[in-house]
């Protein structure tokens, strides 16, 4: 059962002035407070928020807080290679003597930027196409959706693997490949959401007053698609970070000496198990950031779209 509707302000009918009763705050201030309240009630969402803030902070402050900034730019120190964690090197050193802590922290920026770039670009491509497909219907929709289905039917990793193999390794190419496999998801989401919104009476009302298709799409449909899009984007930043790392692990990601987590693990696995610390730190950072973005997305979903429940 639904709790009773939240308080409504007194009707402005001319009958009688309503007595001043204490009223709950209205408007966006309340919406923000409600959002924060919902978020704070959920331990896992708060954890997600904290992890994301942690990662973002590291990415922003990285170059100023790492102990050995040169280690991300090609300095090597073979005499110190594969040292275990110590006071000088909290996470130990790698196979050419670089400080793993430094590289892992500076890798945050690489991964975060890649994740954001992929997600934003995929949304920018996918969401308008999806809204267009959902609203226009007919042959245009068929075409867009069939192409989308086609891309969706090749699970991303294999296709991006092929694309990066073709374009050559490098973080830029990995990002491009992942954008290519990522946008259809947004088409799907925007399309299904649009199909639902299209049936809303307020869209019909806009048609009745003679609003053009573009106006309906951008004023009515798109803003109301935003919530699920934001949720998906939040989660996808995490997944994109993981995907970039996966390509890096296969050997198709960043090129040395750029500190990229997946590539670090790719090298580190050669040194397992005896030099375990090498693989632990980058893996843990991937885990923490993906976990953070996903938990945050979960929390946002609860706030923005309590009824949505697709995994």
């Amino acid at each position: 059962m639904a709790p009773p509707a939240t308080a409504v302000p007194a009707d402005g009918l001319p009958a009688q002035p309503a007595p001043r009763a204490p009223q709950p705050a209205t408007g966006s201030a309340r919406a923000w407070r409600l959002a924060l309240w919902l978020l704070s009630r959920s331990f896992s969402s708060m954890l997600g928020l904290a992890l994301v803030l942690f990662i973002v902070t590291l990415a922003l402050l990285g170059p100023w807080i790492v102990p050995y900034p040169a280690d991300a730019e090609g300095a090597i120190n073979l005499l110190n290679k594969l040292e275990p964690p110590s006071a000088a090197h909290w996470f130990g050193t790698d196979e050419v003597g670089r400080d793993i802590l430094t590289r892992v922290i500076l890798g945050t920026r690489v991964s975060l930027l890649a994740g954001l770039a992929i997600t934003l670009a995929a949304t920018a491509i996918g969401a308008p196409l999806g809204v267009l497909a959902g609203y226009s219907g007919g042959r245009l929709r068929e075409t867009i959706m069939r192409i989308t289905d086609m891309f969706l039917s090749v699970p991303g990793l294999v296709l991006s693997l092929a694309i990066v193999a073709a374009l050559g390794p490098g973080i830029g190419n990995a990002v491009i490949a992942l954008i290519i496999v990522w946008w259809p998801g947004y088409v799907r989401l925007a399309e299904s959401k649009t199909l639902a919104i299209k049936e809303e009476p307020y869209v019909e009302a806009a048609r009745v007053v003679g609003a053009s298709r573009a106006r309906i799409l951008f004023r009515h449909v798109l803003p109301n698609c935003l919530s699920p899009l934001i949720v998906k984007m939040s989660m996808d930043v995490g997944q994109a970070i993981l995907a970039v790392a996966s390509l890096g692990f296969i050997g198709l990601g960043a090129r040395p000496p750029e500190p990229e987590w997946g590539a670090m693990i790719s090298v580190a696995r050669t040194y397992m198990p005896d030099w375990w610390w090498y693989a632990v730190a980058p893996g843990a950072f991937i885990y923490v950031s993906v976990l953070g973005f996903n938990l945050l997305g979960d929390g946002l979903r609860d706030i923005l779209d309590p009824r949505s429940h697709r995994g």
């Binding site: 059962m1 709790p3 009773p4 509707a5 939240t6 308080a7 409504v8 007194a10 009707d11 009918l13 009958a15 009688q16 309503a18 007595p19 009763a21 204490p22 009223q23 709950p24 409600l34 309240w37 919902l38």
Partner: protein
């Protein structure tokens, strides 16, 4: 002794904005075989009250503040979960508003009926378990008793294959499965078309009469109440403002809200009579008006109404009203 007695029952909902005082001191009593209608507008708490009788409100956010609900001298609010479950469907049964959503879309009617029939079997100490076959036979009988032809075919079908009226009859049949003493019907015809509504109301009235059931019928439609109930209670913002024999109330309401409500209903047979709305709108239950909850909209309100909550008191035989300045008084 009354079959059901609700005494100073208060229920609140805790939400982000604060505590909504949804039910504020409900006093009601019902004898066996009696029919009572509860009428009120959206958000007045009538459905919450109905669900309270079976403790179906989810806690939290709901929270019982005070009061008692006694069924045959058992306080429902203090029963343990198991005992409460054994009462559900057996002592008190419920029929809901939208038959489409209250039937499980992916379970067959047969399965849902037998579940309703066997539901309490495990709950009663020493109660025997009926076999599925026995239950199916009972189900068919029940369906026949609510006027559904070809019960076997209906048992084999799924909810979406039935029409709205048939679904509501199935729900009523399920409610009757435990041979309850009290039937609570929460807006049972709101989702139905008017021709079907008439059939269902007639059916409920028949069943109540033939089985000697007590009935609580919740509705926002005075016409429906007047069709099925001898007595009516008018609710406003979580309180009962007036309680009376139905026809007496319709003829001469004491409470200004009841009067306004009746006056707002357009009459099909008297097209000239202009229905009048009640100015203002339903108050927030988060910060309900002090004193009489109706006083900000009441044409008869005095200073006293803003500070002192009127109690539901007898004003004439069989009639109670909660107003400092009742009409015609």
């Amino acid at each position: 002794m009354s079959l059901l007695e609700i005494a100073d029952y208060r229920l609140a909902f805790d939400t982000f904005d604060g505590t909504h005082h949804v039910l504020d001191g409900i006093d009601l009593a019902l004898d066996a075989g009696e029919t009572l209608g509860i009428v009120g507008e959206t958000g007045c708490g009538k459905s919450v009250l109905a669900k309270s009788l079976l403790r179906l409100n989810e806690c939290p956010p709901a929270r019982v503040v005070s009061g008692a609900i006694r069924f045959k001298d058992q306080d429902l609010l203090t029963l343990d979960a198991r005992a409460m479950r054994s009462l559900r469907g057996r002592a008190i049964a419920m029929v809901f508003q939208d038959p489409a959503s209250f039937l499980n879309p992916v379970l067959g009617i047969g399965a849902q009926m037998t579940d309703a029939i066997c539901g309490q079997d495990g709950a009663q100490p020493g109660g025997r378990r009926r076999s599925r076959r026995e239950a199916a036979r009972m189900a068919a009988e029940l369906l026949a008793s609510v006027g559904l032809p070809e019960p076997e075919r209906i048992l084999a079908s799924y909810p979406h294959q039935l029409s709205g009226g048939m679904r509501q009859r199935v729900l009523i049949a399920m409610a009757l499965a435990g041979k309850p003493a009290l039937l609570v019907a929460d807006e049972p015809t709101t989702a139905l078309d008017v021709t079907v509504q008439a059939q269902v109301l007639a059916l409920i009235s028949d069943l109540v009469r033939s089985r000697g059931l007590a009935l609580i019928l919740i509705s926002h439609d005075l016409g429906v109440i007047s069709a099925a109930c001898a007595r009516v209670a008018v609710m406003y913002a979580g309180t009962i403002v007036e309680e009376a024999p139905t026809q007496a109330l319709l003829a001469a309401p004491y409470h200004p809200y009841a009067r306004g409500l009746i006056g707002a209903v357009p009459d099909l047979d008297r097209p000239g009579s202009r229905p009048r709305g009640i100015p203002g709108s339903i108050p927030s239950l988060l910060f309900p008006p002090s004193g009489c909850r109706f006083h900000p909209r009441c044409p008869r309100a005095s200073g006293r109404c803003g500070v002192e909550k009127p109690l539901l008191r007898g004003i004439a035989p069989g009639r109670r009203v909660a107003c400092h300045h009742p009409e015609g008084a």
